[in-house]
Amino acid sequence: MAAGVAAWLPFARAAAIGWMPVANLPMPVAPTEKNKRQDELIILNVSGRRYETWRNTLDRYPDTLLGSSEKEFFYNEDTKEYFFDRDPDVFRSVLNFYRTGKLHYPRYECISSYDEELAFFGIIPEIIGDCCYEEYKDRKRENAERLMDDQEDNKDAKLPNMTFRETMWRAFENPHTSTMALVFYYVTGFFIAISVITNVVETVPCGSSPNMKEVPCGERYTVAFFCMDTACVMIFTVEYLMRLYAAPNRYRFMRSVMSIIDVVAILPYYIGLVMTDNEDVSGAFVTLRVFRVFRIFKFSRHSQGLRILGYTLKSCASELGFLLFSLTMAIIIFATVMFYAEKGSTSSKFTSIPASFWYTIVTMTTLGYGDMVPKTIAGKIFGSICSLSGVLVIALPVPVIVSNFSRIYHQNQRADKRRAQKLQKARLARIRLSKTGSTSAVLHSKRNGLFNEALELTGSTGEEKHLSKSASLIESQHHHLLHCLEKTTNHEFVDEQYYQQSYLEAGLQNYPSRSPSLSSQDGVTGTCCTRRSKKNHHPLKHMHTHLQGLQELSTIHIQPLSTSRSSLNMRVEEPAPLNCQSSQITTAIITIPTPPVTTPEGDAHLPAAPSLQNVVKVSAL
């Protein structure tokens, strides 16, 4: 229940008088304020800045520092104020939380200092309001990542005992750690370059002898190139095997992108070795050689920039996709238009719509090769529209991609969508939690709170009060209000589980529901110092009794009005045997009209006028 609404509780309770004439049962006793003191101002001195507020405001949240007696530790007798040696700016948010019930996170505040202040004042950050919660979570995640990065940097410090394997792996991953690693790094880089250059030069036509036509160098110096290739592949293979050996998690390493690139880079060579000059597959073999160019991607291990570019493209995938999609749409539209516009003209190059695609792409990207040009006037008009729109369509998504690229450095790489989804789920979970929290608090306090009433009625001394859960006064008043509603309608609040059970059981039973009129019961006390134990086998018992044709009884109120201390000291949480002098109570079939013999001794009396339908509870065993 929100704090601000607590101010309306007196109103809600007063309005409950509207139920009174309708109710047939007597109402429970209202909780009294034990020490009713006038509301007073208290002064909170936070590092010199004085905040003043009502005491009641702080009492709204009794489980925080300011709401509980913990603040007495900070009380300064001389100046009659509470002194806190903390940040006064953050304290503003903290105090506003008490006033409005909503915790806000100021954006200019550092996240870790804010967290510290919250921890000091005993406020959990999860109750930050929706308006500020996303910002808070983002900043927190950033901070956590920054800390993680710092930790990773510290990993370079060499650990005392590292196995040879671990040393090797570290050398591979961080080349600047040792000289050997550096040497290895440069050597592999050099050979990657050599390999790529070799591939390129292979296809250059070398100087030709006068009688032969020009041949590419690869075919002229076959042996030399073959040796180069072999040497490079040798080195790459050794490197790959060494990495494989050193990897801490081999399976994961084999699935990583870099290792796949490595494999693809060296595979064509081996396949070429295996396949000799078999005419059928030599065509495929030639194609395989294309994959040798993938060796260039091995450079990405050497270049951070390349990796970041890859990251950016991956994260801008949606924008790139949009660009592609809009371009495709425009191409199709304009190709169709051009085709039909040029259909009339003779010797037109626009033989079909797919043929017009080429024209459209070349025009929209402002390339303009000129191999296809429109001849009709309509074609020229639409062609010019096409080129103008091409410029616009391409220009639009580019700034988005650029801004994405700059965002990559500062933000989390996890997909925004996944984050928002989790956030949404978490938010719904929080709302649900607070709602169920309040209802379960009611049910819980019904079991405990009744203890308090019993205590008060029997006039027991303070030492038993420690049994009472220290629910705040507002809570107890709220529960009393709900209790009155229960009495008015003669139904009880139960939790979901119990409701399901009783619903099932009600389907089996079909007792006529006579409204009980127990108005003349329960003499002076008029309340329900009842102890209810909701045990799971109640429904079964009910069915049992019903089947045996007994008069319906759902529950029996046991009123331990003057039970002894030992029984009061029993903990209610356990649905365990009620030792309320009621060991004589047997759960067994209790027949009415005779009032159950098993009443506890003392003044307890059952409200069981046998002729009337009772609302009674079986007290368990």
Binding site: M1, A2, G4, V5, A7, W8, P10, F11, A12, R13, A14, A15, I17, G18, W19, M20, P21, V22, A23, N24, P26, M27, A30, T32, E33, Q38, D39, G344, T376, I377, A378, I381, K435, S438, T439, Q477, H478, L481, L482, C484, L485, E486, T488, T489, H491, E492, F493, V494, D495, E496, Y499, S502, Y503, A506, S513, R514, S515, S517, S519, G526
Partner: protein, 233 residues
């Protein structure tokens, strides 16, 4: 000859283009297509109604609260409703927070009408405090009259069975679904029957205010429960 071809072709093209644009414009004029998202004029938010209550002395005279109590009440009221008046939706929201398990909106509606004595659709602080004064500090007679007023939905001086049934259903709605024993359809109706049996002395199907007050004053339980909330505040 070439120029002739150019001419016809050119004229054809121009004609086609003009036709296309003209038809688009026509459709636009007819309002069948719109080029841009029509910006909806934001409804001018009527400036929040501000209401200041009468002075403290006047309220002190009119109600049975002391000065201090009025101060406390007003502070709580103003906190939740800075504009000084509560409209029905806010009222329902506030009331619903006290009954998380059920649906308190119907009963809140009746309650709102009971408090809003001048029936202007909003609850000002004066209405609020007058109602509370009756409920917390009034005589039993006044409280009973207030309750009668609550049940009498159309304020005609008689409580009919239909009105009572509405009120009863609203009260049972607040309990929600998860109750023990399970709420049945006819439970409110039966409750109304019991109520009418008790209250309607001359069995004419309606309960007048005198019957109501008489019967309540003879009922011990009701009398006792009327004093229940006296120490609130």
């Amino acid at each position: 000859m070439l120029s002739a071809i150019w001419e016809t072709e050119g004229l054809q093209t121009v004609g086609i283009v003009v036709l296309v644009f003209a038809s688009i414009k026509l459709l636009h004029i007819l309002g069948l297509i719109s080029f841009s998202e029509d910006s909806v004029e934001d409804e001018l938010e009527l400036s929040a109604v501000r209401h200041r209550p009468e002075g403290l002395e006047q309220l002190e005279a009119q109600t049975r609260f002391s000065r201090k109590e009025l101060q406390i009440l007003y502070r709580g009221f103003k906190n939740e409703c800075p504009s000084g008046v509560v409209n029905e939706d806010t009222f329902k929201d506030i009331y619903a927070q006290f009954f998380p398990q059920g649906d308190a909106s119907t009963y809140a509606h009746f309650l709102f009408n009971a408090f809003d004595t001048d029936h202007n659709g909003s609850l000002s602080f004066e209405d609020f405090v007058m109602g509370l004064s009756i409920l917390l500090r009034g005589t039993v007679q006044e409280k009973l009259i207030w309750a009668f007023n609550l049940y009498d939905i159309n304020k005609d001086g008689y409580i009919t069975k239909e009105e009572m049934l509405d009120i009863m259903k609203a009260i049972y709605d607040m309990m929600g679904k998860c109750t023990y024993p399970v709420l049945k359809e006819e439970t409110p109706r039966q409750h109304v029957e019991v109520f009418f049996q008790k209250m309607d002395k001359n069995k004419d199907g309606v309960v007048t205010i005198d019957e109501f007050i008489d019967c309540c004053q003879n009922d011990e339980n009701i009398m006792r429960s009327m004093h229940l909330f006296e120490n609130v505040l």
